[in-house]
């Protein structure tokens, strides 16, 4: 028997995560109730090992017969996913204990989802991308419904699954049409066919639109977003945090690869589609967030609007825009998961208290955490010197450079609207006295660690973003 030569280097982080996920599954069989505390740390070890592999990649190349890219772009995203997963695991440790979901499966699913995201970001073939997407989606469906005893959680899982299946249909159909018109599933092949050959443009365009619908669903772009608030609200808080950052970044990575690189040369102004989606996404996300009384649901709408900002960079369709998207998602990973971590703490056992009003007087009971939360929401609102400002700044900059002034105008107006609901957190925390006496909240080690990392990211990228900017810019070089 002859073993094929496998380029393990290109998939080392994915393999590491898979191994650890399997370990977690096995451990679940043997570990007693009180031994389960080791689960999050085992998962974290997996993330660290994978990060070590991801941090030192080989020379940029495309492996697996041109289906799998191992370039700086992929590396940037892999590290970003691992960061998001690591933070999620940290804020899950205490939560999963409280909710009695501290099973190996929970963490294994997180790791499998991460593998899915990595495959998406690395995939340079539509089939591979679809595989990654499905791996991610199925893991997320299960995670969304992981707190089985809560009806909302079940509802979230079912809605997500049904609509996700529906969207996958669009995606697959789109891929099929693109293949039909160009004869290729590989992105390079498609690019060549689009620029040199004479594909059937109608089929190609309809296929691209279908693809956009499928991806738009995953990234929660308006009008394919309606599942988001329901699913985000029903899912366990750490899962919501996880879903709002990494998976969106993964879909954006796919969008960048497909639209900027592959079908970029078709004779249709596809940036116009993205522009329309971006404006709608920002506006609807922000406006719907205004009247929310539930913090979790509000953050869900806020995450919709943030995806909209990121898409502004995509619509700018220049180098600055793409690296700005990368930076944006990195910053978003830092600040959003931190904010959700605090929300998980405030929500207490059984997620009984996720309303905005439950933050009342938080500054008096937990002044330190209130300051952290303030910094994080300021960053989300895009107030300097937090990273959120820098991230928005470069996005807007790229749109200005592309001459998309209307888009910039819409984005700026939206940022202004956004400030209103983010600052409501501070109003509740600082300007109202606590109404009822509840047992004091104490942050766990994991949460504190996650917050330290978030804070570092938010302040470091806000004050001195230099090296990260460079990283994001370099990610495009080996495209």
């Amino acid at each position: 028997m002859v073993l094929p030569i496998v380029d393990f280097g290109a998939v080392a982080p994915e393999l590491a995560l898979t191994v650890f996920a399997c370990l977690l599954l096995f451990a679940g069989v043997f570990l007693k109730e009180n031994g389960r505390a080791v689960n999050p740390w085992l998962a974290l070890a997996g993330v660290l090992v994978a990060s070590a592999y991801a941090a030192c990649p080989a020379e940029p190349h495309v492996s697996f017969s041109g289906m799998y890219a191992a370039d700086r772009f992929t590396q940037f995203f892999k590290l970003m996913f691992l960061l998001g997963t690591g933070l999620t695991i940290l804020i899950s440790a205490k939560y999963s204990d409280d909710e009695r979901i501290n099973h190996g499966e929970y963490y294994a699913l997180l790791l499998f989802a991460t593998v899915g995201m990595m495959i998406m970001a690395a995939g340079s073939d539509m089939i591979v991308i679809f595989l990654g997407l499905e791996l991610l989606s199925i893991s997320l469906y299960a995670l969304a419904g992981y707190t089985r005893m809560r009806a909302e959680s079940n509802e979230a899982a079912l809605k997500y699954f049904l609509l996700g299946g529906f969207a996958a249909g669009f995606l697959l159909y789109g891929m099929a049409l693109i293949y039909g018109s160009t004869g290729h599933t590989g992105l390079f092949g498609i690019a060549k066919a689009v620029s040199h050959g004479s594909p059937n443009y109608t089929l190609l365009t309809i296929g691209s639109i279908l693809l956009l619908v499928g991806l738009g669903f995953k990234v929660a772009a308006v009008p394919f977003h309606q599942w988001t608030p329901d699913v985000y609200q029903g899912s366990p808080v750490p899962v919501t945090a996880f879903m709002s950052a990494g998976p969106k970044a993964a879909v954006l990575a796919v969008m960048i690869r497909v639209f900027e690189q592959s079908v970029a040369f078709m004779n249709v102004d596809w940036t116009a589609w993205i522009t329309v989606l971006a404006v709608m996404t920002m506006t609807v996300g922000n406006i719907a967030a205004l009247v929310q009384t539930d913090a979790k649901r509000m953050l869900a709408f806020s995450s919709i609007s943030h995806a909209g900002y990121a898409m502004v960079g995509l619509a700018a369709a220049n180098k600055g825009g793409i690296s700005a998207v990368l930076l944006y998602m990195l910053v978003y990973t830092f600040m959003n998961i931190g904010a959700f971590g605090i929300l998980a703490l405030v929500a207490r056992k059984g997620e009984q208290r996720t309303r905005m009003a439950d933050f009342t007087g938080f500054a008096y009971t937990n002044p330190g955490l209130a300051v952290v939360m303030t910094i994080l929401v300021f960053s989300l609102a895009g107030i300097p010197p937090m990273a959120g400002f820098i991230a928005k700044f470069y996005i807007f900059m790229s749109a200005v450079e592309a001459g998309q002034y209307f888009l910039v105008f819409a984005a700026v107006v939206n940022s202004a609207i956004g400030i209103y609901y983010y600052l409501r957190f501070t109003v509740y925390m600082y300007m109202k006295d606590p109404a009822e006496q509840l047992p004091p909240l104490k942050a766990s080690v994991g949460l504190l660690l996650a917050l330290v990392i978030s804070l570092y990211g938010v302040l470091r990228l806000g004050v001195a973003p230099g090296p990260y900017l460079e990283m994001a810019a370099k990610a495009l070089l080996s495209f």
Partner: protein
């Protein structure tokens, strides 16, 4: 060591953060340790860095320490970089050194304050901002420091915000400074338009290529910069905030409103001397304004009753001297006077604080007198500093003031020289008036206060003694006449070498006889002032009252500060308040803006409710939306054009 510059700047900020966030829950000694530790360490590092700078060859004393690229947007590239050269080095030492002493003093002075942690946090924040201003290597960093010190000044003037006067004074200082800052901002923008960079090196090295000497552009830039300086450094016409700033705690007056912040304008002029040297018109404006401020403020100082206000007007007046020096191209003399002034004026303020502390908060000199026997240390240090400010040999002020006068005379500005010399006499007169009223003569102290009188604790008098010592010997750094002995000249000279032609044209080599003659003259004027003060306030107080009666009109005019505050109030404040109330508030704000804002808010809230209704929660609705959206997108492509 150059690599430690950022630490010198950052340490006070860290101190401010620790005390600001956690000071409330920290024990008192810990707050002191943080505040004093951070500034003390900063001072120690500053000394080390300075020594390293001195050890470098004279013409290569520049350390430019780029920390990181801060803003990169289109053509705008701004780094966070710190620049250490003799000029910023001198200021750095004064700021950290005097700042540290005043921190020590504050431990005693603020011991009864309930929110002392807040006070120290603000004070540390001020140190950070001031060091940023001085050490920043480009105009934007200087501006950050500039705004930062303005903010801290506002916070500290209004520190005792329960008192209306303090709150109002803080507001006044802020508004006045804003006017100046506006000029500074415009200047920065203009510099960027002309040079395409904000880095000092980039700007100054291209100054002669990109600007025409004496041209409109450079004149505009320098005039705008000077407008900024008049705000921060309390020059005509924006000086009126400084006397009112005395509402702040006395250590604040000493640190911010005498020794450091108010000299920021002088620093800015010295730093941009290359540009100023290219704009002769601006130079004339600077010299004339400086001279006018010097004499104008000195005369107001004559009749003030509040000890701190006397010192405040003398600060305005001394700053006038510094600007006059800049205006005649004698930047070294200006920097020299900044340094000596920091010593003796900080000492005077802290001395007055010691008096006020002992008097239980009384600041009126008419209710003092004969305090000498109660507080000997305060008296002697106050006297030494007064001798220094009066310009008596061999105290520090003598050398620096004499150098300014000599340079003014030597550069041909005879009229300015005459006025400034007279002002020096006036200074000697009113400063000794303060000494005599406070420490000599008969006691006019209330009986209840009388037996509380006490010398201040060591933590307060020790800084006084150190500062008095510096006020005595600080002048020896700039001994004129003997070529090699003028240490400061040799040290600072290279910084201004590039633009030195202007100064060299006139000044520089005046003869020994002339120099000695000028010295003797200014000494004579100062002694005359002191003698007059002695006659009127100790020997024969009745004569003072008679004088006052016979020149009632002038006295009332000067006592009321020439009614400048009233004039500004009538000219600017009232019309603005009125227009604000009638037009801006009633029409623009209430009707247009509020209407718009509320309208927009309710519009979006309405939209939001609609969006919420769309969120039905039913899967089939969601799926339908997606399908419809696809059809619309595809339809738009197929039929709607392309």
């Amino acid at each position: 060591m150059g690599g430690m510059l950022w630490l010198i700047v950052l340490l006070p900020l860290m101190g401010a953060a620790v005390n600001g966030f956690f000071g409330k829950n920290l024990p008192k000694p810990a707050v002191y340790a943080v505040a004093l530790g951070s500034t003390g360490l900063s001072f120690a590092l500053a000394v080390l860095a300075f020594m390293e700078l001195v050890a470098m060859p004279a013409d290569a004393r520049v350390v430019n320490n780029v920390i990181y690229d801060w803003i990169t947007a289109g053509d705008l590239n701004v780094a966070v970089n710190f620049l250490l050269d003799p000029l910023s080095g001198l200021w750095m030492l004064v700021v950290t050194g005097v700042g540290f002493l005043i921190h020590v003093y504050s431990v005693g002075y603020m011991s009864h304050d309930r929110t002392f942690w807040k006070f120290f946090s603000y004070l540390n924040l001020f140190m950070f901002s001031m060091l940023m201003l001085v050490l920043g290597g480009n105009f934007l960093l200087m501006f950050i420091g500039w705004e930062g010190v303005g903010l801290c000044s506002y916070l500290l003037i209004g520190y005792d915000y329960h008192r209306t006067a303090a709150a109002v004074a803080g507001k006044k200082a802020f508004v006045m400074n804003r006017i100046g800052d506006f000029g500074f901002i415009l200047a920065i923008m203009l510099i960027f338009v002309v040079f395409g960079t904000l880095d000092y090196h980039g700007v100054f090295s291209q100054a002669h290529e990109k600007l025409v000497a004496g041209g409109t552009v450079v004149t505009a830039i320098t005039l705008l910069l000077f407008l900024g300086a008049t705000g921060k450094s309390a020059q005509i016409p924006l000086y009126t905030w400084l006397p009112d700033a005395m509402e702040g705690p006395t250590p604040v007056s000493a640190l911010i409103h005498a020794a450091t912040m108010v000299t920021a304008g002088v620093y800015m002029l010295c730093r941009t001397s290359i540009l100023f040297n290219m704009a002769p018109f601006t130079m004339t404006v600077v010299a004339v304004i400086g001279c006018a401020t010097a004499v104008f403020a000195a005369t107001i100082g004559l009749f003030q009753k509040d000890i701190k206000r006397v010192l405040a007007y003398s600060t305005v007046s001394q700053l006038g001297y510094m600007f006059m020096a800049c205006g005649v191209g004698a930047y070294v003399a200006a920097a020299f006077h900044v340094m000596t002034h920091a010593f003796f004026k900080a000492c005077l303020f802290l001395g007055s604080g010691s008096v006020i502390h002992s008097m239980g908060g009384e600041q009126n000199m008419e209710k003092m007198g004969a305090l000498k026997k109660h507080m000997p240390q305060t008296y002697w240090t106050f006297l030494i500093s007064t001798l220094a400010i009066a310009g008596i040999f061999p105290f520090a002020g003598f050398f620096s003031k004499d150098e300014i006068l000599a340079e003014t005379f030597g550069s041909g500005h005879t009229a300015l020289w005459v006025i400034a010399t007279v002002a020096a006499g006036v200074t000697a007169f009113y400063m000794f008036r303060a000494v005599f009223l406070t420490f000599h003569g008969k006691s006019r102290v209330d009986h209840e206060v009388e037996h509380h009188l006490h010398e201040s604790p060591y933590v307060m008098t020790l800084p006084l003694i150190i500062l008095a010592f510096l006020a005595t010997v600080g002048g020896f750094l700039g001994i004129p006449i003997i070529e090699g002995a003028n240490v400061l000249h040799n040290f600072l000279g290279p910084v201004f070498a590039q633009g030195a032609e202007h100064a060299a044209e006139h000044g520089g080599g005046h003869s020994l006889e002339l120099e000695l003659g000028l010295m003797g003259l200014s000494l004579g004027v100062a002694i005359t002032g002191i003698a007059l003060a002695y006659y009127f306030f100790l020997k024969n107080p009745a004569a003072a009252e008679r004088m006052q009666k016979s020149y009632q009109g002038i006295h009332t005019l000067v006592f009321n500060k020439y009614y400048i505050d009233e004039l500004y109030d009538w000219l600017f404040t009232r019309p603005i308040v009125r227009a604000s109330r009638e037009i801006l508030h009633k029409i623009v704000d209430v009707q247009i803006i509020d209407g718009l804002v509320n309208g927009v808010a309710s519009f979006f809230m309405g939209l939001s409710s609609v969006a919420r209704r769309l969120q039905s929660g039913l899967i089939r609705d969601y799926a339908l939306t997606m399908a419809v959206a696809f059809v619309l997108l595809a339809g738009f492509y197929l039929w709607g054009g392309r």
